[in-house]
């Protein structure tokens, strides 16, 4: 059987994009394979590691667990859509990066956290960050970066 692809619009990083996808194509596959946006990383592709995190209407979501067609007319933000945000600066300054594979996802999750919950408690931060895995174990530095942004140490460049 030849799979049928459907065209639909995606509001991606603030720009309207026309994309083509099978019903069973995941958002992760379309972002990387069709749109060339490789910031969302494939790793477990099972919803366990969150290396593929993107923002959908400002909330972190796992692009490996979203069908691309679900996102028709939705606002999706990938790491390529963030520019010099306080969280990106904080990750650099706090050394919250080692190999870097998980970094785009951690930044997006952290960016959503401080945007939606500027008064987040320690427990709240831990709950959000526990979604993402970092095999280099940079967790402490990542949490410091989040707390630094919440404390206002970094501003949008």
């Amino acid at each position: 059987m030849i799979a049928t692809k459907h065209a639909f619009n995606l509001l991606l990083n603030g720009e309207q994009k026309e994309v083509y996808a099978r019903g069973s194509d995941t958002l992760l596959n379309v972002l990387r394979g069709q749109l060339g946006l490789t910031g969302a990383k494939p790793a477990c592709e099972n919803g366990d590691c969150d290396a593929c995190t993107v923002l959908v209407a400002g909330k972190p979501m796992k692009s490996c667990l979203i069908l691309a067609q679900e996102m028709a007319n939705c606002a999706v933000t990938t790491i390529e859509g963030l520019h010099n945000t306080p969280m990106q600066q904080a990750f650099i300054q706090k050394g919250a990066v080692q190999c870097g594979y998980c970094t785009p996802a951690f930044i997006l999750n952290s960016h959503a956290l401080v945007t939606l919950h500027p008064d987040a408690s320690d427990e709240f931060i831990d709950d959000w960050l526990a979604s993402n895995l970092c095999r280099c174990t940079s967790y402490q530095e990542i949490k410091e970066a989040v707390k630094a942004v919440l404390a206002g140490e970094f501003v949008q460049a």
Binding site: M1, A3, T4, H6, R22, G23, S24, D25, T26, N29, E45, N46, G47, D50, T53, V56, K59, P60, M61, K62, C64, L65, I66, L67, Q69, E70, A72, N109, D127, W128, A130, S131, N132
Partner: protein
């Protein structure tokens, strides 16, 4: 990558969804209703299920209801677990569902998806079993609102083409004393060893369990044992442990013996939390 191909449909009304299901079934597409999609995508990727079509019900207004009205809490099947926690209309439900998966997953996972899923835990059902909730189920031949207990036997008993749209809980249950205890063997983000949810109504403890047997359950026999005030707490717990409805799970999350050990301690904890035991 998902190796099988299926078509994606997103109806905007119940009648569209039900009609689609019937039409696609008659075409041999074996359609399935799709909500958060986490389990369906995971299983499809692992070739553990195949379908010719998914019918995404997130665009149906009745499935997105989340409000208290006329003394009842209405939660639509496509409301996500994080939306439930943020609104916090039903603290026992918020606490219990917060133990499911991780925070980002809970932006995907919906109430209906968790309750109707294949995974054996399905913790979100526990608070509704304890609160005599009702479920609204629609089919092409009509709609019914029935007690959850009457259609739950280890899992929600839905007939071909039927769709769970809402769960309805009387507001008197939303503020009762409760406890929800999630036990894991090692790390916080993991499948649980077990979840025990309990509430107290008219001085009687109601308890429901996930992760003990192959299915979540609430048992009258266990509650009778727990509420037997003629016996000492220790004896009530031992009697309750002898009334489980099926063999205790024995898997990589924990052996049956270990689970029984943890359950015994968790029941003590439950009594303590509900101020039955110091």
């Amino acid at each position: 990558m998902i190796s099988c191909d299926f078509d994606y449909y997103r109806p905007t009304s119940l009648i569209q969804a039900l009609q689609l299901h019937q039409d696609l079934s008659s075409q041999g597409k074996n359609p399935i209703y799709y909500s958060g999609g986490t389990e369906i995508i995971t299983m499809a990727r692992g070739n553990q299920m195949t379908t010719g079509a998914v019918i995404d019900v997130k665009g149906i207004p009745e499935c997105n209801v989340h409000e208290i009205s006329d003394g009842k809490l209405f939660i639509g099947a496509t409301v996500t677990l994080n939306q439930i926690e943020e609104a916090n209309y039903f603290p026992l439900l918020s606490k219990t569902s917060r133990g499911i998966a991780d925070h980002t997953s809970r932006n995907h996972i919906t109430l209906g998806g968790n309750i109707c899923g294949k995974i054996k835990y399905r913790e979100a059902i526990l608070p509704f079993l304890l609160s005599d909730s009702q479920v609204k189920i629609v089919a092409l031949n009509g709609e019914k609102t029935v007690s959850l207990q009457s259609v739950f036997d280890g899992m929600l008993q839905l007939h071909q083409g039927e769709l769970l749209t809402q769960i309805i809980t009387e507001d008197q249950y939303l503020t009762l004393p409760f406890v929800s205890l999630r036990k894991v063997k090692q790390v916080y983000i993991d499948y649980p060893l077990m979840t025990v949810a309990a509430l107290k109504k008219n001085q009687q403890i109601r308890a429901a369990f996930s992760g003990i047997c192959e299915f979540p359950f609430r048992s009258n026999r266990i509650e009778d044992a727990l509420n037997n005030t003629n016996a000492a707490i220790e004896n009530r717990i031992e009697h309750a442990l002898s009334q489980l409805p099926a063999p205790i799970l024995n898997d990589q999350q924990g052996s049956a013996q270990y689970r029984q050990f943890v359950l015994r301690n968790t029941l003590y904890e439950t009594f303590q939390a509900l101020e039955e035991y110091k």
